[in-house]
Symmetry: C2
Subunit: 224 residues, 2 copies
């Protein structure tokens, strides 16, 4: 067991959550405005100290519910950050999570909100603590997962057009993809199926709406 001295020097364990969504054609992340010191008034990831009677997963779910008004969404543990000087209050370790959700599932209503906003990932303001570093790491993970899993389902509405699917990829990868090639590759994966519905409105020919066969994460394909 560590000595009492060791225990005293751990100031706390926080859980911080990166919640990504797509809005107005850009990748956005939920950032709150801190209402106490340190970094009073500065933007930060929704987070909080882990409680005695909760696991890290439960803390992440609580934070998403209390500070971003979302529940039951795709969430996974990202990384535990433990740099010695990442928090001016002392030794604080952060277990971070990342979560993905369709824009229409976010509802900023609640009693414990700290001015949450959906800010564009590629134009971030100054952030508290090492939260910029956490976001950079999250984006890397998200992009890697996009390559080898069906994770994009969690950012889309239940039905979507192939154009919307491709746009989600383009927004996250921050580059244009060839339409014909994308469609051919994606359809060959067998992850999505056409519905009998069509996109409403618009001037062009109505596009078929697709849906994911599974609403849970799976690896795209086995290479070996």
């Amino acid at each position: 067991m560590p000595s009492k001295m060791d225990i005293f020097k751990i100031a706390g364990i926080t859980v911080d959550v990166v919640l990504f969504t797509i809005e107005d054609g850009s990748l956005r992340v939920v950032l709150i405005q801190r209402d106490n010191e340190p970094y009073h008034g500065v933007r930060a990831l929704p987070g909080g100290f882990m409680q005695e009677n909760e696991t890290a997963d439960a803390a992440a779910a609580r934070i998403l519910r209390e500070k971003a008004g979302v529940k039951d969404i795709y969430t996974e543990q990202l990384y535990t950050f433990s740099d010695l000087r990442r928090d001016p209050r002392g030794r604080v370790i952060s277990i971070t999570y990342f979560a993905l959700v369709a824009r229409d599932q976010i509802n900023f209503k609640g009693s414990d909100l700290q001015a949450p906003a959906l800010l564009p990932m590629y134009h971030l303001p100054h952030l508290a603590f090492d939260h910029k570093q956490i976001l950079v790491y999250s984006l890397e993970r998200l992009r890697a997962k996009l390559e080898y899993t069906n994770i994009v389902y969690s950012l889309l509405t239940p039905t979507f057009t192939l154009t919307q699917l491709q746009q989600a990829y383009e927004i996250i990868l921050d580059r244009k993809l060839d339409k014909r090639n994308f469609r051919k590759k994606y359809l060959s994966l067998g992850l999505i199926q056409a519905t009998k519905q069509f996109e409403r409105g618009g001037r062009r020919r109505p596009a078929v709406l697709y849906r994911f066969k599974a609403q849970e994460i799976e690896q795209l394909k086995k290479f070996f």
Copy 2:
């Protein structure tokens, strides 16, 4: 900040390391024998309490050095386990790592060793704490990484035959792979190159030795 009560109830943060290697055609993991309570005499992952002045990464490197006699090897953070009752001493959170190394780089010599042994992953003894669960999770991660990265380089000697490469895949995935298909796929990735050396000994025709172009992890291929 958490109240003093909250701080007191965190008994500690440990770092535990899953160190995989291949020996005698089987996937093996380094397990020590605990020399104090709880779980005295029971096999466990090499681990220890994180110190005040070290990051989790530094703790993992220290544990690998002190408890498994290896250094400068491929190591990555795996997951942070925080179940409420995972440690009988109280609230102990474990930041886990996984590491991969060629068998000849492991050298069980040192002053702080607790009877480390290389035990077969598919025939594990009873383990302390939630270490079985940590191992199951590690194997999943290792198998997933094998599909989409060059991570296998860290388990092989600097030069190897295509047969040895395929065997490493088969041992980790725990299934046979078609020889012709494997070779064709792997060579098409452009990750390895033939050397001018041949495997010594053996009765059969000497096989060409290959080496990885990069000795650092990279994603196998971009699908989109």
